[in-house]
Amino acid sequence: MSAAIEATALSKRFRRVWALRDCSLLVPDGHITALVGPNGAGKTTLLNLAIGLLAPSAGVIETLGWDPQRHPEPVLERVGYVPQERPLYPDFTVGETLRMGRALNSRWDEAATRARLLRHGIPLDRRVRHLSGGQRAQVSLALALGKRPELLLLDEPAAALDPLARRGLLTELVETVAADGVTVVLSSHQISDVERVCDHLVILSGGRVQLAGDIDALRDEHRLLVGPRMDPAVAAGDPTIISARHAGRETALLVRRHAATPPAGWRAEPVSLEELVLAYLENPAAGAPPPPTLVEAAS
C-alpha cells in the first residue's frame, strides 16, 4: 500500500501563529480518511498544503509522491479539491461551469459528469446562484470528480446541508469510491458521518496530530474501563489513560493498548467513535504517537 499524502515534520506559520506544528502523518491509498479536530486545528491548512495553495514553513509534504510546490501540474491533474466555501462562479450556468472544468483540466470526463448531475436533477442551464445549497455542493463535487482524480480532498463537504442533501452528497461520494477507487480525505465535524463513510482517521488538535490510523483498529486498541472510584491524581499521571471520568462511586477510564483482561473489579467496554474522538480532543496532551510507517498504516 502506498501513501496518497505523506507529511514529515510539517509546519505552517501565519505571522506569529503556528497553524500546524511538526505534523507527521500518512494518508493511505484506497481509503476514505477523516480529518477531525476543532476549528482552527489546522485541517484546512493541511488540505491547502497538500494541494499546493500554501507552502510549508518547515517540513515536507508529498501528494501522490510529488512536492506540490515544485510540481504543481501533476498534482493538480490528479487531485480534486472542494474547499469549504464550495467555490463556483455565481453567474455561470451549470453547463458553463462544466465547460470551465473541461477547459482547465487536461483530463475530463464530460459524459460521466453530466450523468452525475442528471441523477441529482440539476439542470445544466440554471445559473449557479439559483441553485440550492445541496445542489451547489453536488456541482462542486462533480467539478472536482470530472477530471477523474486519484485523490479527492474535501473540506467539510456536508457542512450547512440539510439532512437529505447531506445524505445525497455522502452517497454520491461512496458510490464514486466504490466504482472508481478514488482515495478520499475529508474533514468533518460530524462524527456520525465519519463513522459511516470513513475507514481511516486523523485527529488534529492545536496544529498537531493526536491520533492516526485505521478506525476499526483504533477502536480495538481502546477500551472504556469501568470500576470503583479512583484517585484522580493517579489517573492524571498515566499516559495510557486518555480520559478519566469520576462520578459517584464509579470511575470510567478510556485507555489505549489495554491488557487482554481488565484488572479485578473492573470491566472493559468498547467505545464509540464519538467517545474516542471527544476524549482525545478534550485532552490535548494525549496522543502524539511516533511517526507512522507504512507497515503500521497497513494494519
Partner: protein, 313 residues
C-alpha cells in the same frame, strides 16, 4: 483558457464595446451633420459672421462634443483598471476563491495567459478609441487649434495609459485580494499618477525652447504685444523669465532708466524676456516618451502583481 477569459470578462467587454460604439457614433454623427448644416464648411461659418446662429452654435457643439470625447478618452483606461482589479480579487474573494487555481491550471500559467489576453483586449480597445479621436481631430482641426490641448487623448499615449491602468488594477487586486479596496486604490492611484506626470513631468521631457523679446523700454510699462511670440501650435510650459545681458535670471526687472542709475539694484539694458515653450514638432516625440513611461510602469506593475500572486501564502 481563451473561452474562460472571455466568459469571465464578457460583461466588461460588452460595456467597453458599447462605450466605444457610442463614442464612435457620436463622432460620426457630428462629422456627418456638420457639413450638412454648414455646407460651406466650418471655416466659412467662423469667418463669415453673417449667420449668427452658426457662429454661436458651432463652437458650442464643438466644445460639448469635445467634452464628451475627452471624458470617453479618460474613462476608458479607468474601466480597464477596474477590470484588472476585479480579475484577480475575484479569485481570492468569496465564491470564486481560488477556483481556477485548484483546477488543472497552475497559477503561473493562469496569470501569464490572463494578463496577455486582457492586455491584447485593452490595446485593441485603445486602438479603436485612438482611431475615433483622430477622426474627430482630422475633421475639426482648424487654424489655431492647439495640438497640445489633445495630448491626454492622443493616439500614442492612449495605449500607454490603457496598459498602465490594467496593470495598476491587476497589482491592486493581487495586493488586497478583495474587490472594493482594489478598485478604490486603482482609481485613486491612476488619477494621482496621471496628474503628477502630466503636470510635473511632461514639461520636462526635453529642455524647452525659448522665445525671446529684448526689451528696450521699462519692463514695467510693457504691453502684451511685446511679450515673446510663440510659433503656432507651440505649448507654453511655464512663466516668462527675465534675464540680464549675461544671461542670469533677474527676479525683479527694474530697468535702469537713467545713467548713472538712480534706483538701487536696477539692471542696465538690455533685459531679455524669455518664454519657455515646446514646439508643435515635438508633439509626437512627447507622445512617444510619455507612452513609454507608462508602458514601463505597466510592466513593473505586472511584475509586482505576478510576484504577489505566485508568492505562496
Amino acid at each position: 483558457m481563451v473561452w474562460l477569459t472571455w466568459r469571465q470578462h464578457r460583461g466588461h467587454a460588452m460595456t467597453a464595446g458599447a462605450l466605444l460604439t457610442a463614442l464612435a457614433i457620436g463622432v460620426i454623427l457630428c462629422l456627418v451633420l456638420l457639413p450638412h448644416l454648414y455646407p460651406d464648411g466650418a471655416q466659412r461659418c467662423t469667418t463669415s459672421g453673417t449667420d449668427q446662429s452658426c457662429v454661436a452654435l458651432l463652437p458650442q457643439l464643438g466644445s460639448s462634443a469635445w467634452t464628451w470625447i475627452v471624458l470617453g478618452g479618460l474613462l476608458f483606461p479607468t474601466l480597464l483598471g477596474t477590470v484588472g482589479a476585479t480579475t484577480i480579487s475575484r479569485e481570492f474573494e468569496g465564491n470564486g476563491h481560488l477556483l481556477a487555481w485548484i483546477q488543472g491550471v497552475p497559477r503561473r500559467r493562469w496569470f501569464l495567459r490572463r494578463a496577455l489576453f486582457l492586455s491584447c483586449g485593452a490595446l485593441a480597445g485603445a486602438a479603436v478609441l485612438a482611431a475615433v479621436m483622430q477622426g474627430w481631430f482630422a475633421a475639426q482641426r482648424g487654424a489655431g487649434d492647439a495640438i497640445w490641448g489633445g495630448f491626454d487623448i492622443g493616439p500614442i499615449v492612449l495605449f500607454g495609459y490603457t496598459l498602465f491602468a490594467l496593470a495598476l488594477g491587476t497589482a491592486a487586486g493581487a495586493l488586497f485580494e478583495r474587490t472594493s479596496p482594489a478598485v478604490a486604490l486603482t482609481l485613486v492611484s491612476y488619477i494621482a499618477i496621471r496628474v503628477t506626470i502630466a503636470v510635473g513631468l511632461r514639461t520636462r521631457y526635453l529642455a524647452p525652447l525659448q522665445a525671446s523679446t529684448v526689451m528696450g523700454t521699462d519692463p514695467a510699462g510693457m504691453t502684451g504685444s511685446q511679450l515673446p511670440i510663440i510659433p503656432a501650435g507651440g505649448w507654453t510650459t511655464g512663466l516668462p523669465v527675465d534675464v540680464d545681458a549675461a544671461g542670469h535670471t533677474i527676479t525683479a526687472a527694474v530697468w535702469c532708466a537713467s545713467s548713472p542709475p538712480v534706483t538701487p539694484g536696477c539692471y542696465p539694458a538690455p533685459i531679455t524676456l524669455l518664454q519657455p515653450y515646446q514646439p508643435a514638432s515635438r508633439f509626437w516625440l512627447f507622445q512617444g516618451i510619455e507612452a513609454a513611461i507608462f508602458v514601463i510602469l505597466a510592466l513593473a506593475l505586472f511584475a509586482l502583481a505576478y510576484r504577489l500572486v505566485m508568492r505562496a501564502r
